[in-house]
């Protein structure tokens, strides 16, 4: 039997049982739809994270207090909320002396209640050195950022993000206004460019940036840093500079055995690898859950095909009587199940892409998030490949049952 005829025969049989074919397909539609949707959303989330990590600056290296145990991708203790006081001013000074290091930005952070004349809100404030704005791509759109002089003189000045500005001062120009943090008055000298909603719905415009000296001494009462951002010189490979940074910190901390480091140094690329890794694992995990519905759908197909084989015993007998070989019959029933799952896969793909597009529109136009629309080719190929394979895998058993019927028993069947 020609392939073309086999397809036509299978198609006609499916058409004659329209409702059943449609219901059988549903499981596959849902399975493929969810896999496509989750893989696309995962890709979009990853794009967003990568964009954001890249947008924080270039050639960056981060020194974090505390050693990282285990793999390269595990998080250091400071990221788990344990306070480690090993990064201090002499480290910053030592790093600044290295010729491969372009900029060094010490940073601290803390939380406090910000109070204006009319309103108040909880904020996370960051204490940074004056070069932070240039190194980390934080642009001031109104007023100006603070200077090294402000840091050295411990002036109570602040640069704030647009959400905080709106919360504290409404539509008024915030520059020149005064607000309080822990009973200290701060004069706002600059307003940051709007950045929008970031990963996990975090409002990137809800920031208060202060001179590091002020935050450290006046608000937190500490002499250590939360972390240090280092910008490598443009002509140096960040990985090379990372090695130098590690050696400088070891010298400064009097450590001879690298296994006893009390700090962790990571390049921007490594940080990127970590977050990409997290989203990839999450995407794979969610897609695997969605794939379970494919198995359920496949079993549904097998079930219906077995019923169909039984129901069409006479037809099988007739086809064999007029010359169909076992292979012809097997082929016909296999094509029927593959056509069902492939069509289900196509419909699922369409639905997955549509829902993905809908989510994109809602996020961009209603939530105003910087979200990108992604449809990974791998997801499309995987979905169509997997749906076809599902048809093949779950269609073989019923098709064999059909092929093995003897013509005479099949014709006698009532």
């Amino acid at each position: 039997m020609l392939l073309k005829d086999a397809f036509a025969t299978a198609f006609t049989s499916l058409k004659h049982a329209r409702t059943r074919s449609f219901l059988t397909m549903l499981g596959i539609v849902i399975g493929i739809g969810s896999v496509i949707l989750l893989m696309s959303l995962g890709q979009s989330a990853q794009n967003l994270i990568i964009d954001q990590v890249q947008s924080i600056g270039s050639n960056l290296i981060f020194a974090i207090p505390g050693a990282t145990k285990g793999s390269r991708l595990s998080s250091p203790p400071s990221a788990q909320g344990i306070i480690i006081k090993t990064l201090v001013k002499q480290d910053v000074d030592a790093l600044k002396r290295d010729p491969t290091v372009e900029q060094v930005v010490p940073q601290v952070q803390g939380m406090a209640r910000a109070v204006s004349d009319t309103n108040d809100t909880d904020v996370t404030f960051q204490g940074v050195s004056a070069n932070f704005f240039a190194v980390r791509n934080f642009n001031v759109v109104k007023g100006s950022s603070f200077t090294e002089e402000d840091v050295n003189s411990m002036n109570n000045v602040a640069v704030i993000g647009q959400s905080i500005a709106t919360t504290l001062f409404g539509t008024d120009n915030p520059v020149g206004q005064v607000f309080r943090l822990k009973n200290l008055s701060f004069r706002i000298i600059g307003l940051l460019e709007k950045k929008g909603v970031g990963v996990g719905g975090v409002d990137q415009d809800s920031v208060v940036i202060l001179p590091v000296s002020v935050a450290q001494k006046k608000l937190l009462g500490q002499d250590y840093y939360s972390y240090i951002t280092i910008q490598a010189g443009a002509k140096y490979d960040p990985t090379f500079v990372k090695g130098r940074v590690e050696n400088i910190l070891r010298d400064s901390h009097h450590i001879t055995n690298p296994d006893k480091d009390d700090f962790t140094v990571r390049t921007q690329e490594e940080a990127l690898a970590i977050v990409s890794n997290i989203t990839s694992v999450l995407t794979i995990f969610l897609s695997a859950i969605a794939a379970i519905s494919l198995i359920v759908g496949g079993i549904g197909i097998m079930n219906i095909m077995l019923v169909s084989v039984l129901e069409r015993t006479k037809e099988i007998g007739l086809r064999k009587a007029v010359g169909a070989t076992n292979r012809d019959i097997m082929q016909q029933f296999l094509f029927e199940s593959i056509m069902l799952t492939f069509a289900g896969g196509m419909v699922g793909l369409l639905i997955g892409v549509s829902v993905n597009a809908l989510i994109y529109l809602v996020l961009v136009y209603f939530v105003q998030m910087t979200w990108s629309f992604a449809l990974p080719l791998s997801a499309v190929l995987l979905a169509l490949g997997v749906s076809t394979l599902t048809g093949l895998a779950f269609g073989i058993y019923p098709a064999r049952q059909a092929a093995q019927k003897s013509p005479i028993e099949a014709l006698r069947y009532e």
Binding site: M1, L2, K4, D5, T9, T12, H16, K314, E315, G317, L318, R319, K320, A321, V322, G323, A324, T325, N326, R327, D328, S406, P407, I408, L411
Partner: protein, 235 residues
């Protein structure tokens, strides 16, 4: 053409043996019209199934067009059924939701007839049973007599040497039954070998030769002197 030597067919059911055929031998020459008659349980349907390669004998030898059944695998049997045999069943065995055209087309799907020749073959076969105007009607919507004519067209479409008919008039009123027998008679006049199984003497007498079976054995095998019908379907 057809040669049966000492054919036996034994069915075993729950340990009990049934000898449906108990040593049957005969020959049918090219162009003969043979009726096989017998009461129910005589083995006539079993014999037809063996002759038409639907089933294999337990013992004995069956040769069709010089091919011994023993030398052929299932695929080879299917090819011979497709190319050299046509079948007409008591219960028509049509695909009710497919059109007359598609029903008649079915054997060609498994044959070597090229796709562009098929329509010609199908139309010729439908024309031979006088159902041209029903070509695109769903088979399920036809009357019993018309259904059996579609089945005959399907049996003819591959232009086989032999047509096996198993109680072809069993589900029909007498007028439709006569029409069907007239068509078979016509086909015989055109040179085809017809093997007919029936339990009605009236129907059996359209043939030239009558083999009577009883308890799996041939009771008699004689020519019919005053056969019925003149193949007048198209006259």
């Amino acid at each position: 053409m057809i040669q049966a030597d000492n054919l036996t067919k034994v069915y075993t059911n729950d340990g009990a043996e049934t000898r449906a055929l108990d040593g049957v031998s005969f020959k049918i020459k090219q162009g003969e019209f043979v009726s096989i008659m017998g009461p129910s349980g005589s083995g006539k349907s079993t014999l037809l199934h063996v002759l038409s390669f639907f089933d294999r004998p337990t013992d004995g030898e069956y040769r069709f067009s010089n091919h011994s059944e023993k030398e052929l695998d299932d695929t080879a049997l299917a090819k011979i059924r497709n190319k050299d045999m046509g079948f007409v069943f008591q219960s028509f065995n049509l695909l009710a939701r497919s059109t007359v055209f598609d029903n008649v087309l079915m054997p060609l799907l498994y044959s070597e007839v090229s796709a562009d020749q098929r329509e010609k073959y199908v139309k010729k076969a439908i024309n031979a049973v006088g159902l041209n105007e029903k070509t695109n009607v769903e088979a399920g919507k036809l009357s019993g007599g018309q259904k059996q004519r579609v089945a005959i067209a399907r049996a003819l479409v591959n232009n086989p040497n032999v047509i096996f008919a198993d109680e072809p008039t069993g589900n029909l009123d007498s007028k439709s039954g006569e029409q069907i027998m007239d068509i078979l008679r016509d086909l015989h006049e055109q040179g085809r070998t017809i093997v007919l199984v029936t339990h009605e003497t009236y129907t059996a007498e359209y043939a030239d030769r009558l083999i009577k079976l009883k308890d799996g054995l041939i009771e008699s095998d004689e020519p019919i002197i005053h056969r019925r019908g003149n193949g007048e379907f198209f006259k």
